[in-house]
Each structure stands twice: as C-alpha cells, then as structure tokens.
Amino acid sequence: MHKIAILEGLLFVMGDEGLSFEQIGDILNIPINEVKTLVTELKKTYDGDDRGLTVNFLGNALKLTTKEEHQAYYQKLIEVDENNLSQAALETLAIIAYNEPVVRTQIDEIRGVNSSQMVRKLVAKGLIKEIGRSDLPGRPIIYRTTNDFLDYFGIASKDELPPLKELTAKEKDDVDLYNSVYREE
C-alpha cells in the first residue's frame, strides 16, 4: 500500500485541524524521518501547475490547503470577506505573543489602556487561551497564544514570529538620562 496515498487521505480528513509529524508517524507506524520524507514527496507531487492543493505547516500541524495563486477564484464564492483583526486586537496579540505567558495587567501596562474586553474577544476567537492562574495577588488568569493564532498568521511555529525590534544600544543609552541636562525651558 502506498503510504503517500494514506498520508494524503489523512490530511484530507483532518482538514484545518491538521496532523503533527508525530501523529502521522504513530498512525503509519513509521519513524519521524520517514514521515518527513513522505511529506516532502507529497508536497512535490502537489507542486505541479495542474494541482490545486498543497501541504502547509501551519500552527504546529501539517494541513492540506489550497494554493495562493488560486485565491481570486475562491474569492468568487464569497460575498464579502473583510474581517481582519482591528489594530487594538493586533497590538494585544503581539504583546501576548512576545511576552507569554502573561497576565492581563502586563498587557494593560504596555498598552496604557484596559484590555479586558479585547482579551475576552481574543479568547472567544480562539487566538489566545487561559492556561491557569498566577500566584500574583488576585490570582489573575494567565494567557498564551494558541496554534490557531499561528495558523491565522500563516506561521508554522513560534520560532517564525517576526523578530521584535530590540531597542538598540544607542536607544538604551539614550534612555539613561540620569546625567543629561534638562532641556526644559
């Protein structure tokens, strides 16, 4: 039996939930290395212009998806699809992603505004989730981003997050204003 065919079927069945390399290995009873070879092979067969699907690694799982270049055709099936995240939502998500696990007050502190409603919205959208409670006073809920968050931005794993621009040495120096002369008039 062609394992590559089974793999294709598995990915079709799982849809946007996808499968991890480990899961595929368990199901097919083969080592991870072999899984990786299989996936590469499958991906290659999809590379051709005459194929409509491809294999993507999104949110820590392998998923069967359509191809970017055909998007315009799928678009014709939808009426309107302008449901992008708001600036506030993006900010909040970014703060969580680069600082997780976080409690809400940390987010509030950075944004300078109360974020409780936004956090609730993001939980409802499944982009972040509660993972427990902190030992801080009031035992606040701890949040982190989900695999759906990664998938939403087309990212395979957290390592692929765009690097946050670190404050440069110069900037850090400049923040040290201990000895600087006040220029207030």
Partner: protein, 240 residues
C-alpha cells in the same frame, strides 16, 4: 495650532502621545515635557469640545504629564549625593513609549501575514464518528409522534384567553346606593353591603362607607368584638 480630532483614532494615551511626538518631529528620547503636555491637553480639550467622551486612561495620562511638568519646573535639589543620581521624570514615560512603539510597529508585519494567510484555504475536519443520532431505535413513526407531541405542547403554550370586564362603579354611585338602602331599611349589617364578591366592588363599597362616615352621615355600631357592625344613617336614628 489646528487639531483634527478623529473619534477612536487612537488606541490609547500612549498611541496619542506617539502621534503627537511624530507630528511635531520631536526626538522621542528628548521630549520636551512642556510642549508635549500642552499639545496633549489641547487635544483632550478639543475632544471635550466635540463632546467626545474621553476614556479615563487619557485623563490619567494628562495628570501624569502635568505632574511631570511641575516637577521639572522645580529647581533641581543641589544636595549632591555621592552618585550624583537624579532620576529624570521623563525616563519612565520614554520607556513606556518605546515599549509600546515596538508592539505597535510590529503589527504592520502581522497585518501582512494575516493578508497572506487569507490567500489559502483549508477545510474543517471530517466527522469520522458514526452519527450519534442514527440508531435502530429511531424511525419515522417515532419522529412523527414526537412532532405531534410538540404540536400539542405548542397548543398548550398559547396564552389563555380571558375577559376583562369593568363595572365602572364610582364611589359616589355606591354612596347613593348605600344611602338608598339605609333610608329604606333604617339599618344594615356591614357585611351585607358586600354582596358581590368582586375586588373593585368591595373596594368601592368600603371607600363609600368611609366617605359617608367622614361626612358624618353614618352611625357605626359594634356591641362586642367581632359582632356584626351595624350601619345606620344619622338622620334616621334621630327620627327613630
């Protein structure tokens, strides 16, 4: 200076400050608290004039800016401690602004990623489990029975129809009636006046009796506790 105020344009006081700093081309590391405070307050005032409700966070920041400004106006304490350390009040604010700016700026990249991801589609997983509802015990007649029961329940759900009748009896009418009775019968038992059990009738009758008593028309007698109360009309007793 002209301020164009747009509703909800800013995500918070830090965002507004960053905007003002950028607009007036100030170096973020060397912000003039005096200038920025003025601009910030002007903006807040403009918002107020437009009757926009200002989120409390903006006011907190305004207060902090004013405090910072006043601290900077005080002459630096010349105590000259060993390490010559004096904290610049701006430092905390600058740190906050820089931290916020980092995240605000990276959202551009997230937006691009979001757009790119929207170019491809996938699908929901198939349901591989046999349908829970499909079992031998379910057939069409059971479904029909259930639907019948539902229809009956629906019927019972209807609001009960009831009639509301209004007697429209006024206290004056009742007074006249009682007076008539009293003139005819000389006296009457209190209970006998409540000959119709109807809330309105009872209330109107009671009010009528009170009204007549108030007008000194009635003599009300009760020999012992819980005996019948006997009503008679004043004039009639004198006549009697």
């Amino acid at each position: 200076m002209d301020y164009k105020v747009t509703i909800n344009k800013f995500e918070g006081p830090l965002d507004l400050l960053l905007h003002l700093i950028k607009q007036s081309e100030i170096d973020i590391y060397d912000i003039s608290i005096e200038k920025i405070t003025k601009q910030y307050l002007d903006y807040i005032r403009a918002m107020e004039e437009l009757n926009l409700s200002i989120a409390s966070e903006y006011l907190v920041m305004a207060a902090e800016l004013i405090e910072m400004k006043s601290r900077l106006l005080l002459p630096p304490v010349q105590e000259d401690t060993d390490d010559n350390y004096e904290e610049d009040p701006r430092e905390g604010l600058i740190k906050k602004l820089l931290a916020y700016k980092q995240y605000k700026e990276i959202t551009t990249q997230f937006k691009e990623l979001e757009e790119k991801r929207k170019q491809i589609y996938t699908k929901a997983p198939l349901n591989l489990k046999p349908d829970d509802y499909q079992s031998e015990s379910v057939n069409l007649s059971i479904l029909l029975d259930a639907f019948d029961k539902f229809l009956v329940r629906k019927q019972l759900d209807q609001p009960l129809s009831t009639k509301i009748t209004k007697i429209g009896l006024t206290v004056n009418e009742r007074i006249n009636k009682i007076r008539e009775i009293l003139i005819k019968q000389k006296q009457v038992k209190f209970n006998d006046l409540f000959d119709i059990i109807n809330k309105e009738y009872i209330i109107v009758t009671f009010l009528a009796i009170l009204e007549m008593a108030k007008n000194q028309e009635l003599i009300i007698k009760q020999t012992n506790n819980f005996d019948n109360i006997i009503l008679s009309i004043k004039g009639s007793e004198i006549n009697a």
